[in-house]
Symmetry: C2
Subunit: 467 residues, 2 copies
């Protein structure tokens, strides 16, 4: 990281965590020079980069300001109160309504689970597809059976190495996206009737999987910036026969929360103490706004208890359906379950992604993608502060592309969801993130789409509907 | 079909069903001319085509003979005796040993579940992959979510129309291969503890799925040429609370049996009477050796009880992992289960296959593929009649690429499997096709690979091991 990038990052972090509020004045160029001991060129470059990222605006003869108008920064949302035990999980039509809206080109996609496909290097990927399809070895169709294409697994192994969280390549199993990885992990460690700890609020697919397989859920509260409530988890582990956990420890969906490294260590120690496996959903791992990639809980796992699930769907190749799991002691069982359920991941997609990772400039693309998402977050926050009620609470994600909005207790997100859909705007209402249907006063907004006037209008429209 | 093709087909059918035995003399050209009222050129062309297919050999100044040496044609295998109820399904390591041998390039692949990848138009497919990848609409990654890519589903709809078994396009769901389709269908119609009727012998994945999901199996016997024992099924339906059936009605794996159209009608009537859904595995549908594609049971289903599962893996694009299900009244439930488990099938593979079906000459490729498989069947039967004990019984498949071999009762197929593996030859031992571990005296042989000297040597070696 260059010096000007470091300075820009310090300021960007202060904007994200709310120490610098929208509209407030930033240190002068002179101050940056003396404070950081850098040349004027470096100071200008730092601000130039922040401007490019949409975080900062220059005003002629006045200096630099945090983007957005001067509104008080909203508080963080509250966390849910106590673990809830749900004997039978009941997932409503609502999840499918939200998913199906994602296919409607005319909707403003604040409810979508996906970032805009236009943020991805589809043309460059097509080159890899073309090159590898033309010279495909017929034997590859067999050799790419689970655990999966060897070149692709090697590339994933290298990325774990670069992260300083090395994983044995023979524990890496390629899957049809991370969603399959998560489902196979669950099948590998729990059976019908078992109790599984999930997050509240949390990814609806976890609740759906438990419902489908006749398992029971215990909901563990999530704090909007600190992530999973470890004390609540420890208590639940003492009092209930929990067979497995399914958590997102980084850029949690829907809250955007990230557990600290210390908390992740503590989580892994807690798992080890009770010998409980963790299914770690880490699909937004590459979408961090800070200086460094956060380490997953898996990095602290010495006993093979953590199954770390990743994907290229959110960072490189949406629709290719290539994910993986570093399965620890469960990797062979997962590999066999894969063979029994969908046989293998699509071979042209596996070999094309392996080729791209070797030659395509993945890290350069990722830097662009992260900046785009961070800019869009600022744009969304700015629009919200202008058009939404002043008493809303907003999460402060450090990565990913979801913002969690909490209204006053009496607010009805299901009602807003319906009325927004009529106005051509999708959003994800809070109750879909909880099997016990909490969070009726919350919504999740997607900022994974390049900001347009339509987005500004949609937020204004939503603002009217919320009043 | 041209006149000479029709004549060739009449003779080919008589060879397949054993009316014409290996080594026996065929009617003279003159006889063909008078019998069928055709020109000499047409008669010659018929025999020329049969020679090309490896079914017939010309001997100079002597005429035409059925390929293979004059051995008595083996009897058909016996069918298993009575339905067996298996309260808990226990699938052994053996299935995985057989699957993993398929990845070993040095093995002679008589045990593989797949045909040789060299039989498929991978180069022509690569053209479709290249063309579609280059012009991919980013929105396709979202628009190809379940039920799946519209162009591909339209092409599948057209093939059902051409078969005279039309299916509503909105009931067609694209899946990650047929294996996923089968598993999703099972999830759609049964839950843990439910009793499901499967075939004996039958596809091991059915038993594995029941085991994984905590369901119970009842094994219904299969006759080697007539297919499923309908009387046994009717009786089982009366006596047990069967929740669903999972059957292959055409080119059944492992026996190769095909139910007649009348039997399929009767099966559908039986299902309707008890209101029991059928998961119809029809992955070998396109690999028929006769004049016409056999109709699936689905063709007679007027109540939406049959879920018809197909695939391109065995007929066009191995490794692409594109299958589908025409799900009848369960199609929406299946679509949702797909969304919840693997989200969607790989998009580059979906759009490439849709493009190939529109432009690639699928039917021409299929004619070549069918001829290749039929030729290879003859080559395998010939080698078996030369090198195997004379008292073996062989199935008489009319399509697909599996031959079922039954030895005397005392024979131990598991022992042969081990010793063959040591000699670099894979085969599928009978017990993997039955949750109750019957068929210890049977093996399944794959004739999906172009015949080479290595195959002849391997059959000779197996012959030695069986004596």
């Amino acid at each position: 990281m260059k010096r000007y990038e470091e300075i820009a990052e310090v300021i960007a972090a202060d904007i994200r965590n709310g120490r610098l509020t929208p509209g407030s004045k930033l240190p002068s160029i002179r101050k940056i020079i003396t404070q950081h001991g850098v040349s004027p060129a470096t100071a200008f470059q730092a601000y130039y980069q922040l401007e490019q990222r949409g975080l900062v605006r220059a005003r002629e003869r006045s200096g630099y300001y945090v983007a957005g108008t001067a509104h008080p920064i909203p508080h963080e949302p509250a966390r849910s109160a106590t673990p809830r035990l749900t004997s039978k999980v009941d997932i409503s039509e609502l999840v499918f309504a939200v998913l199906s809206a994602a296919k409607d080109r005319n909707m403003v996609q604040f409810g979508s689970a996906f970032p805009s496909p236009r943020l991805f290097p589809l043309q460059r990927l097509a080159k890899s597809v073309t090159r590898t399809a033309r010279f495909i070895d017929p034997w590859d169709t067999v050799a790419s059976l689970p655990p999966g294409n060897a070149a692709l697994r090697r590339q994933i192994e290298l990325r774990y190495l670069a992260l300083a969280a090395p994983q044995p390549v023979d524990e890496i199993v390629i899957t049809t996206g991370a969603l399959e990885a998560l489902n196979l992990c669950l099948l590998a460690v729990a059976k019908p009737g078992d109790l599984v700890a999930i997050e509240s609020p949390g990814f609806y697919a976890a609740g759906q999987a438990l419902e489908r397989l006749g398992m029971k859920a215990i909901e563990i509260p999530v704090h909007p910036s600190e992530g999973l409530d470890l004390a609540a988890l420890a208590d639940a582990m003492k009092r209930h026969p929990i067979k497995a956990c399914w958590f997102m420890t980084t850029f949690q969906n829907p809250m955007g929360a990230t557990m600290s490294e210390a908390a992740k260590r503590e989580l892994v120690a807690l798992l080890a103490k009770h010998d409980i496996p963790l299914i770690e959903d880490d699909v937004y791992a590459e979408l961090y706004f800070g200086k460094h990639a956060p380490l997953p809980a898996k990095a602290f796992d010495t006993r093979g208890l953590v199954m770390h699930c990743g994907s290229f769907s959110k960072s490189l190749a949406p629709g290719y359906r290539i994910g993986w799991v570093a399965g620890g002691r469960f990797s062979e069982r997962i590999e066999r379950l894969k063979l029994m359920t969908t046989l293998s991941a699509s071979v042209p997609a596996q070999v094309a992604i392996a080729d791209y990772l070797q030659t395509g400039g993945y890290d350069k693309h990722l830097r662009k993608l992260r900046h785009a998402l961070e800019t869009q977050l600022t744009q969304l926050r700015t629009a919200l502060s202008q058009h939404f009620p002043p008493d809303i609470r907003l999460s402060r994600p450090e990565g990913g592309y979801f913002l969690w909005v909490e209204f006053s207790d009496s607010f009805n997100a299901l009602d807003l969801h319906r009325r927004a859909a009529d106005a051509g705007i999708s959003l994800a209402p809070g109750p879909i993130f909880s099997p016990s249907r909490q969070y009726r006063h919350c919504i999740r907004l997607n900022y994974g789409w390049p900001w347009t006037d339509a987005h500004t209008s949609a937020i204004r429209e939503l603002g009217t509907l919320t009043c």
